[in-house]
Symmetry: C2
Subunit: 266 residues, 2 copies
Amino acid sequence: MQIVVIGAGNLATSLVPAFARCGHQITQVVSRTLPSAEQLALFVSQNYSQRVEALANIAKVTADADLYVLAVVDDVIPLVAAELVKVIGSGKHIVCHTSGSVPLGTLLAYFEHSAVFYPFQTFKKTEPLLFDDIPLFVEATDDTTRTTMLALARQLSDEVYVSTSEQLKRLHIAGVFANNFTNCMYAIAREQLDRAGLPFSVLLPLIGKTATKVKTINPRDAQTGPASRGDTQTINQHLRLLGENERQIYEAVTQNIIKHTSSDEI
Amino acid sequence: MQIVVIGAGNLATSLVPAFARCGHQITQVVSRTLPSAEQLALFVSQNYSQRVEALANIAKVTADADLYVLAVVDDVIPLVAAELVKVIGSGKHIVCHTSGSVPLGTLLAYFEHSAVFYPFQTFKKTEPLLFDDIPLFVEATDDTTRTTMLALARQLSDEVYVSTSEQLKRLHIAGVFANNFTNCMYAIAREQLDRAGLPFSVLLPLIGKTATKVKTINPRDAQTGPASRGDTQTINQHLRLLGENERQIYEAVTQNIIKHTSSDEI
């Protein structure tokens, strides 16, 4: 396929070389920060023997590509779509965005054949990733578009899911708990250790073990700690040592653990 | 040293072979569940060419060992100490327990030379661990005891800390957040995915990455997600989709993340 990628940020830096690696032609990379687009275009040109054009202006995008990928932040997706439709029209091409939070309808308002192409991982410009084991979620407006996008996804990753915007909302919530909130738990733990004058490194073996265990055990079955033991003495001791917000977190999470611990396990 | 270990459970199953490996003589292993003591004694006898006695009754413990290790659950430490003092007396030997939650004073009430010897990891009988990279926390009633216990700890692990019961309380709280609560976040995430009909495996790459990142980055600096972006639209959308307890957790953790995000990062 001839692919135009709009965006040259964290995700695009991994995605553009991944498309090229699968044999697709990256026609143009577009970014308002032209040097980012140029850098990415140069990388692909050099590594995959393609002629990739770097652009700062969507108005100059070719109307001859097969697929237009919007790898931009959520908020600007409608704006980019509105600009793009003026150049390529609404009926001929497939246009996809890469966000798990923006419904497909946002693109369908502009393009007849649109899709969500959502890789479930966090990306950083400085550390391009391979897509092999990154779950890819695909939603599309019609069968032909879905078939094309699924084929593309399966070239990149072994884990491809056809999904709906409703599913992606739950997936996003799951990601917030499993990653954003987990990271916050690490942060609070670190602050507690700081108060005791102990280094964060003492937690790393246990953190690693907890994260590894869920690969094979349902986390509800792996739950340990004072809440799962019903050890109210320890729980109350901990609550007395915490500030207000940390106490609210401790109480709400403890309640959740207790709710899910069957009485015969206590 | 001649060491008597009281307990043949999750921790003792890792600890007893570790002592033997360092060249110490395990004189006796004591457990009310005699088969557990016998199994552990047999393992050490066979693997480290020692004659280890298995006992069910503390009254039969030798008074000739150098160190008595109470690797038993928190609640029974005072009971075991009360039984043990009748057999070995209060002034001659070093007695330690292995809990991070029971103060040193609990043993000092019975034994002049007592210590806390606390390995910061979760242990399972079925998966004995090496102590090399497990942080060991040592607290002791006096200099001689501390010197002996530190030397023993350093034979087992590269990460040994002299600590106070106050520090261990904070360490325990840190462990609850970083491990027990993190595991609960995984569990809630899994339940959200269940509702969307998606497999938990889609979360594993991100979970692994979050747990790996804290090895090199302060978790406050690694924080991502709607709360750290100040994305109230997404936050409110998520809150509407959650049950009451999950919503309380979401709100309290979100508040913590926002509190610690400097305004220039939003």
